[in-house]
């Protein structure tokens, strides 16, 4: 009899544990904060400022989702993750979404059971070397010592690149970007390799950025984007379309400055009206209210504004839009229609 009760309790506990995996949206709402996985610190993408407030391009995505879901862009618990811990953190439910310069690959999407909701930065892997080394191409790096963040796709690309070009190298694995920067500056490695955007961000933090060059070779495709767990499609839709709202709003000319005004009454553009909730019921379709996109855009502006403010040409990081321009401007950013 007692045993039956015990087993019954176990079964209930097991079922409860199973059920909590789904319905991330309810969990987030009940908790009142969004747990968002970010890097341990990469200036421009995700790093705490002098006051300890996280800011950056990836952080902005987290804040936009928090604003859309909870109505408060500051209701985000930022969880710093390393290249090694990020997937475990997401799979175990410690974080609700991961916005951490993570490359969308086949095996991560399928075998690791994650869902990449889109691409917020089209990147590629590059090399940075000190100018004094006198190297102008990555193919001249035969025998070089290369610092690399362990547990990333860059590690595999690096092995492929050197194998393809039949030259040798010595990898020096490092855990975080900060560690890599320290080793590189101490001369413990000749070259530092990671995504070109990350190199630019790292170089911007150097004392003398002009003494280092980023080599012209881009050796891989690195579409970076936010991701969620498999199996909760409703939550995946929310993150996906929040990102799309940021991209679409740039295309449609909705900015942080005019979003309030545009959302106050229907404009003469039906798509803007649907996006901002003055027409149709898109918000209801993804389980939010009508103003969700308006709130997401109001946090830091549209994709273009976020780009300019965090990593654009006027910032120390100084990245050009390049591939990340809207499709109408020669880039490949293309949001599906809000309809």
């Amino acid at each position: 009899m007692n045993k039956t009760v015990f087993l019954g309790a176990l079964t209930v506990a097991g079922l409860a544990a199973g059920a909590s995996a789904a319905a991330t949206l309810d969990d987030v709402k009940a908790r009142g904060t969004l747990n968002c996985g970010v890097t341990t610190g990469l200036v421009g993408f995700a790093a705490p400022d002098a006051n300890g407030v996280w800011e950056g391009f990836d952080v902005a995505v987290c804040r936009a989702v928090a604003a859309a879901v909870l109505g408060d862009a500051n209701a985000v618990e930022f969880v710093p993750t390393t290249g090694k811990t990020r997937f475990t953190a997401l799979a175990s439910g410690e974080i609700d979404m991961l916005a951490r310069n993570t490359t969308w690959t086949f095996s991560r999407d399928t075998d690791l059971k994650f869902e990449f909701v889109g691409v917020n930065y089209y990147d590629g892997q590059g090399f940075m070397v000190p100018k004094a080394l006198g190297v102008s191409s990555a193919k001249e790096l035969d025998g070089a010592t290369v610092c690399i963040q362990t547990g990333t796709t860059t590690e595999l690309n690096l092995a492929d690149f050197f194998r393809k070009n039949n030259i040798s190298y010595e990898p020096v694995p490092v855990e975080t970007n900060a560690e890599g920067q320290q080793q590189y500056l101490a001369g413990a490695c000749d070259a530092y390799t990671t995504d070109a955007s990350g190199l630019a961000a790292t170089r911007a933090a150097f004392e003398n950025p002009t003494e280092h060059v980023i080599l012209p070779e881009i050796i891989s495709k690195e579409p970076l984007g936010p991701l969620v767990r498999h199996g909760d499609n409703d939550w995946g839709d929310i993150v996906r379309w929040t990102l799309n709202a940021l991209i679409a709003s740039e295309e449609l000319g909705v900015t942080s400055a005019n979003v309030e005004e545009m959302a106050s009454e229907p404009t003469n553009s039906p798509e803007i009206n649907r996006l901002l909730g003055t027409e149709g019921n898109l918000g209801e379709m993804i389980g939010l209210d009508a103003d969700w996109a308006k709130r997401a855009i109001a946090v830091g502006g549209n994709y273009g504004e976020l780009f300019e403010k965090n990593i654009g040409e006027k910032t120390p990081i100084g990245l050009a839009r390049g591939l990340n321009a809207q499709w109408t401007d020669g880039g490949i950013l293309y949001s599906p229609p809000f309809r």
Binding site: G18, T88, L112, L133, T150, Y169, E170, P171, P173
Partner: protein, 404 residues
């Protein structure tokens, strides 16, 4: 008529399981066992259920797939096309390398410091106390990082050795101390070098044989042969003779600047040095305390008795104190070796590719097979720890008090 009756037949009743002291402990042990098995079963079932819910399973097929990443320190042949299994083996060997080096060095540090802590010299005693307290009370990870940072920040980069008037130069033209590690000459084994190696091994055996013979002669006849210089002669002379007779078959490959780095020679990486040295010096502090405790456990009367027999202090230590102290020292020493081996998993802090770095790091991360990788890791560390215990227990049995 016989009055003897059979003793009353004990009829077993269920209540005896609780009230009879003969059965009670079994009953509770059985209940505890069942509960434990249920708990483990629940956790296991929970794992499988949750994995299945995420659409995953437990499978080890990924070990045969190409790893795709490179490892800098490769004791066996390995490239990025080798399998994950081979990458794990490289990691295992790297773990064993640092564990063996660390255990040897830690024992050296520990025994020296432990004996010197009992030195009659006040300064030496206090210095050793300072070493023990400083290293024992700071986490080993911090020591690893401190030593690694000092190496990378203080030593020159290979580029400092370049040019007509370089900032740094090699020691004796053979050793280069850089912030990427230390480069030392590597032996090149020419034809006939096997003879030299065999001679060398034979002379080591010869030294042992001679010393045993001298001891036996001393015990049997009381005749004392000199130990020191004949050992040195047996150790060096035959090997050197054969080396020149065979026409110097072994030469040295000196490291030299080549491209971005030094080429040739043996490269002892900074990560290995930092990890090795930190583990040795940290565990050495603990071993020093074990040694001190062991020596102090031998009663002072033994020293005095030996002295009154006319033994000199060194002999007293070697022949009387240490053999008895070892009985106290060895058991805790085993656990220090185990600690050192397990602490070597902190290697990733300095990018040393041990088994935690390859199997538990990159492989885990690239394949996403966390549970399988961690299970294998646990198995490996368990196996290696049990092996160390087994070997040390054999040694412990050999030196423990023989009760006759």
């Amino acid at each position: 008529m016989t009055t003897a009756t059979d003793p009353p037949k004990a009829s077993f009743q269920l209540s005896q399981l609780i009230y009879d002291t003969r059965y009670r402990s079994y009953t509770f042990q059985f209940i505890a066992l069942v509960l434990l098995m249920l708990l483990i079963g629940y956790l296991g079932a929970n794992l499988v259920t949750n994995l299945a819910e995420q659409g995953q399973n437990i499978a080890f097929g990924f070990l045969a797939e190409p790893a795709g990443y490179d490892i800098n320190q490769r004791p066996i042949e390995y490239d990025s096309q080798s399998s994950h299994l081979r990458a794990s083996f490289v990691g295992v060997l790297n773990t064993l390398i640092v564990a063996v080096l660390g255990c040897l060095t830690a024992t050296l540090f520990g025994v020296t410091a432990g004996i010197l802590r009992l030195s009659p010299n006040w300064l030496v005693r206090k210095l050793m106390a300072g070493y023990v307290e400083a290293f024992r009370n700071v986490p080993v990870l911090i020591w690893i990082l401190i030593i690694f940072t000092i190496m990378t920040a203080v030593l020159p980069a290979p580029s400092a050795f370049r040019g007509d008037n370089p900032d740094s130069s090699m020691l004796f033209g053979a050793f280069a101390f850089t912030n990427r590690g230390i480069y030392i000459p590597a032996p090149i084994w020419g034809g006939g070098s096997i003879v030299v190696v065999l001679t060398f091994l034979a002379s080591i055996a010869g030294v042992f044989y001679y010393r045993r013979y001298a001891t036996k002669l001393l015990y049997d006849t009381g005749k004392l042969l000199p130990m020191g210089w004949p050992s040195l002669v047996i150790f060096f002379v035959p090997t050197i003779l054969i080396y020149f007779i065979m026409g110097q078959p072994i030469s040295l490959d000196y490291p030299a600047l080549k491209g971005f780095n030094f080429g040739g020679g043996i490269h002892i990486r900074g990560s290995l040095i930092a990890l090795w040295f930190a583990l040795a010096i940290y565990t050495g502090a603990f071993i020093a305390e074990n040694v001190r405790a062991g020596i102090q456990a031998v009663s002072k009367g033994q020293t005095e008795a030996a002295a009154s027999l006319g033994l000199r202090p060194r002999r007293i230590m070697n022949l009387v104190i240490l053999p008895q102290a070892l009985r106290v020292i060895i058991p805790p020493l085993i656990s220090q070796y185990l600690n050192l081996t397990k602490n070597s998993s902190l290697a990733i802090a300095v990018g040393y590719m041990d088994v935690t770095g390859t199997l538990g790091g990159i492989t885990l991360n690239q394949t996403g097979r966390a549970i399988e990788c961690v299970l294998l890791l646990m198995l490996f560390y368990l196996a290696i720890s049990l092996a160390i215990s087994a070997v040390m227990n054999v040694y412990n049995n050999a030196i423990k008090l023989k009760e006759r």
